[in-house]
């Protein structure tokens, strides 16, 4: 098993991996064989230059925070933006309310975050008007999820619900307030469901609502607020939300 080629062994020698007997043997060969000695110099030079030029770097700080949140070691990432909502956003929200307000006004008053609800409905409606409701169209979550890399800071949770009757259509970037968020699009029969994932500074209880004929279900898992919007029946949307929450993140 042990390679006897001296030019292999010289690597193990440089790495300090040889037992004393083999190390002595390599040292004897190094003394006898100038070519081998040069090889050793090259290997050592390479090791030195790698150590100098490619220092070990730490993990990005946001990564540790996200992972701690994902396993429940930390309640939720608390972005500073949560408290500073720009005033134009309230205006935009009220426009959205004017455009889509239906019989859901009672729910709006109870909702923990009405502007977000309005924005996700507005985004959903806008997407339905567009040529394509998604920026990346794929039923493969391993295509959709990496697409968000570099576009938004947080990797969205993407699950495969095709067997539950909700095939993945794709994903897009929506904007809620000034924050770009990941929105996944699932299909149920002939209807589309938009699911926006908003890194939340607070936990909100699961709530149901309706704005302008669109049903909304929202909940929080691991510091992320999820907003599902669709024109399907409330019961269907609820089934979707339960299936999404119950799904394993990856297999």
């Amino acid at each position: 098993m042990t390679p006897t080629d001296p030019r292999l062994l010289v690597h193990a020698y440089v790495d300090g991996e040889l037992d004393p007997a083999h190390a002595l043997e390599v040292e004897r060969q190094l003394a006898d064989d100038p070519a081998l000695a040069v090889e050793r110099e090259r290997v050592e030079a390479l090791r030195r230059v790698i150590a100098e030029q490619l220092p070990r770097e730490g993990a990005p700080p946001g990564l540790a925070r996200r992972i701690e949140a994902a396993v429940g070691l930390r309640p939720a990432p608390a972005p500073a933006r949560a408290s500073s909502r720009p005033s134009w956003r309230a205006l935009a929200a009220s426009v959205a309310v004017a455009a889509f307000l239906g019989s859901g006004a009672t729910w709006l008053a109870l909702s923990p975050g009405p502007p977000d609800a309005d924005m996700v409905v507005a985004n959903h409606v806008r997407a339905l008007m567009a040529t394509h409701p998604v920026d990346v169209g794929s039923s493969d979550r391993h295509t959709v999820k990496p697409w968000f890399n570099g576009r938004i800071p947080e990797a969205p949770r993407v699950v495969d619900l095709a067997s539950e009757g909700f095939p993945l259509v794709g994903g897009r970037i929506d904007v809620i307030g000034r924050t770009p968020v990941a929105t996944l699009v699932y299909r149920v029969r002939q209807h589309l469901i938009s699911l926006s994932e908003v890194p939340a500074g607070r936990t909100i209880a699961t709530s149901h609502g309706q704005i302008g004929g669109y049903n909304i279900v929202s909940w929080t898992d691991n510091g992320v607020a999820y907003w599902a919007v669709s024109d399907v029946a409330a019961a269907d949307l609820d089934t979707f939300a339960k299936a999404f929450r119950a799904a394993e993140p990856e297999r």
Partner: protein
């Protein structure tokens, strides 16, 4: 599901996995070649590690974590960069053939001096490492960037120590040749 895990598991995860996050990220970055992809891979790997924390034997946490990260990275590569993995089996065959014929060492087209190697800058080194086939690249990175010993690399990459040794030697030889053929400092 995370919510069913006990606080013991969380504490174990915090002491076993989190200290090696930098190493996990570094390996994922070298394997995927992209920082954002690496974060994705590490996050997936950490969730796997959390679910499997009960299976950790308590010997070498870093090697255990890196093994899971490597697995997650390979899954990711298979989905997103399948071309980079296709060659793994072929590569082993070629390696065997070359090794038995003794061809790899005899040709030695470039033998740059140690001084030239020492002048390589970070960008050229990174580019040269990125060009290595995955099995060579991971072995070199684990040893020369991350400082694992042969036994740990053998555990992480699931090959015998002799294979670790030969892959490392070949990876270094390719790098040395590559740096020797490159013109340093962008000179013509």
């Amino acid at each position: 599901m995370a919510s069913l895990k006990s606080e013991d598991d969380q504490a174990r995860f915090a002491s076993v996995v989190l200290p090696h996050l930098a190493d996990a990220y570094a390996l994922a970055r070298w394997l995927t070649g992209d920082r954002a992809d690496a974060e994705d891979v590490v996050q997936e790997a950490c969730l796997r590690a959390f679910r499997g924390i009960g299976g950790f034997a308590g010997v070498n946490a870093r090697a255990w974590v890196l093994t899971i990260v490597r697995h997650a990275a390979y899954t990711w590569l298979g989905k997103n960069r399948s071309a980079s993995l296709v060659m793994v089996d072929d590569l082993e065959a070629v390696e065997q053939k070359q090794s038995s014929a003794g061809a790899a060492f005899e040709q030695a087209p470039q033998t740059p001096e140690a001084e030239l190697i020492a002048k390589a800058d970070a960008r050229r080194l990174e580019a040269a490492i990125a060009e290595l086939p995955v099995p060579f690249r991971e072995t070199l990175v684990l040893r020369d960037v991350q400082g694992l010993d042969y036994r740990e690399i053998s555990e992480v990459t699931k090959v015998p120590i002799g294979t670790v040794m030969s892959r490392l030697a070949r990876a270094r030889r390719r790098l040395i040749e590559r740096i020797g053929t490159d013109k340093p400092g962008g000179a013509p």
